[in-house]
């Protein structure tokens, strides 16, 4: 019998994510994987897991899980309340969940994405080489109520995994700068927009795992290039003067000018921001 826990409550947008679905972009499949890779890596490191082990990515409101079998878990990323059988628990440390335990994660604070790691990594279904949930590659984009999440068997006598003491997670800092590099179409970016880009205070708009919209109120332009390759962190300029940042589930091509590329650390930072946040762009060093 395989070990599992059962999903009692799904949370707002909880999905299984691993290192990502690498090698399928040429068939139109986005890489997926964790939005904030730094927090994801930390959650796994606490349990001594492989770096890319499958975790749950929690968005703003966490799930409630009932354990049918024992295992160790850990939570890193955005600050979130954790209760096991209604007793408060710590983040960034190994937590033993025994048969019949109920683990409940609350709302995030100071950031919007937390990662729940399982010892050895979740053992959910693999689609095109990855457990990362992304519809239609996987049958659903998020956890479903009543679903069983499989993991490696562990017994209570297993030595508790050692804590990893790392510094504070950089993606959770509270600054308002977004570090960028020149994008593939920077040379085609209108001069008026290049001038305005770094002196404008921008507002984060609607967002999800596909991308973040940034209300930038830049001058309008009518550039309509051929569809071109877009990767996570690519910033496209819309004709209306706003910016679209592609994230982990973003389409592999886009039809607007790719004026900027986020610094890798800025992708993790952005993944922890909610709409309404004010930001300024800054050249990465």
């Amino acid at each position: 019998m395989r070990s599992f826990c059962k999903v009692i409550e799904t949370g707002m947008y909880t999905s299984v994510q691993d290192g990502g679905r690498i090698g399928w972009r040429h068939r139109g499949v986005p890489v997926s994987g964790p939005m904030d890779r730094e927090s994801f890596t930390q959650a796994n490191a606490v349990l001594g897991n492989p770096e890319d082990a499958a975790c749950l990515e929690i968005t703003q409101m966490g799930p409630t899980l009932l354990f049918n079998d024992p295992t160790w878990v850990s939570v890193s990323g955005a600050q979130i309340s954790i209760e096991k059988n209604k007793v408060k628990q710590q983040m960034d440390s190994g937590l033993f969940c025994d048969v019949g335990d109920v683990l409940s994660l609350g709302q995030t604070e100071k950031g919007v994405r937390s990662y729940l790691a399982f010892q050895g990594g979740l053992q959910t279904e693999i689609y095109l080489g990855s457990r990362a949930q992304f519809y239609p590659i996987s049958p659903s984009a998020t956890l479903e109520k009543g679903e069983k999440l499989y993991f490696h068997p562990t017994s209570a006598t297993t030595v508790p995994p050692s804590k990893v003491s790392k510094g504070p997670i950089a993606s959770l800092h509270q600054e308002d700068k977004l570090l960028v590099h020149k994008g593939l179409d920077w040379d085609a970016c209108p001069a008026a927009i290049r001038e305005a880009l770094f002196s404008t205070t921008m507002l984060l708009g609607s967002n999800n795992r596909m991308g973040y919209r940034i209300e930038a109120a830049l001058p309008k332009s009518d550039n309509q290039p051929l569809s071109g390759i877009v990767v996570p962190g690519t910033v496209q300029l819309t004709p209306g003067g706003n910016l679209l940042v592609a994230m982990q589930d973003g389409q592999v091509t886009g039809g607007y000018l790719r004026i900027l590329q986020l610094d890798p650390a800025a992708i993790n930072f952005l993944a922890q921001q909610a709409s309404g946040k004010k930001l300024q762009l800054q050249w990465a060093g």
């Binding site: 690498i22 090698g23 399928w24 972009r25 040429h26 068939r27 139109g28 499949v29 689609y127 095109l128 239609p136 590659i137 996987s138 049958p139 590099h181 593939l184 051929l226 569809s227 071109g228 390759i229 990767v231 389409q251 592999v252 091509t253 590329q261 890798p264």
Partner: protein, 240 residues
């Protein structure tokens, strides 16, 4: 064709062509080149994604810029020395949307002669798979003559049904699943370019030829019931 390199990071290199690819032959050259590059770097190369203006190489390790450029040049010279380019030719069934609320009817304002002429030309014109993008299994098919290109709709539809065959400017595409979309819908096909439960999940390769064949509603039903619904294909080649 000439190219230059633009490094996005030490592991991501964009190879920019001087002119966008515009023919099946050029896409086949690229397909051959990509095969050589995969063989050249093996595990160091995670994947190559192509678009009309270039290819993006994703490496698993940091690459030296000079040697990368040399290997690209060497394999490119070998590619253009090839005398034969092989590919598959596919026949895709197409059930035309004949309703008077259909995009094609609206586009030609119900003119029966224009509608008939467009449909006849469409099934007589071989297309080719140019590249994948937009969503899993969405293939941009090139080869439409300028007179057959249809301008995109002013306002995109919020829900295009899966299996819709559509024309957007120079490209033809099949919506692999329900999604918003701004292209002109001309009909339906039973062919799924991506199917999670089929082996292979994807079958169409850039450079392959596609010929559309008009079918009736009952033929469409027959196709939908076929196991694995892979279309008919034959080996084909361009000789130089």
């Amino acid at each position: 064709m000439n190219f230059q390199l633009q490094w996005l990071s030490p592991v991501q290199c964009f190879v920019v062509f001087d002119l966008p690819l515009a023919t099946q032959y050029e896409v086949l050259l690229l397909r051959y080149w990509i095969g050589l590059l995969q063989n050249e770097w093996k595990d160091q190369l995670l994947e190559i994604q192509s678009e009309p203006r270039g290819i993006l190489l994703f490496f698993s390790v940091k690459m030296a810029k000079k040697t990368t450029e040399k290997r690209l040049e060497k394999t490119w010279q070998k590619t253009i020395g090839q005398k034969e380019m092989r590919f598959q030719s596919w026949v895709f069934p197409l059930l035309w949307d004949h309703s008077d609320r259909g995009d094609l009817f609206q586009y030609f304002k119900g003119d029966p002669s224009q509608l008939q002429a467009y449909q006849e030309q469409f099934v007589a014109q071989p297309l080719y798979a140019a590249f994948y993008g937009f969503m899993p299994g969405f293939v941009y098919m090139g080869g439409l003559p300028p007179a057959m290109r249809l301008a995109r709709k002013d306002e995109p539809r919020l829900q295009v049904p899966a299996g819709s065959v559509a024309v957007g400017e120079r490209y033809v595409g099949i919506y692999p699943q329900v999604s918003p979309g701004g292209w002109q819908l001309i009909g339906q096909t039973p062919i799924a370019l991506f199917d999670r439960n089929r082996s292979p999940a994807f079958f169409l390769a850039p450079g392959d030829r596609i010929l559309w064949k008009s079918v009736s509603a009952s033929e469409m039903k027959y196709w939908q019931q076929q196991y694995n619904n892979l279309p008919q294909s034959s080996d084909d080649a361009i000789l130089l």
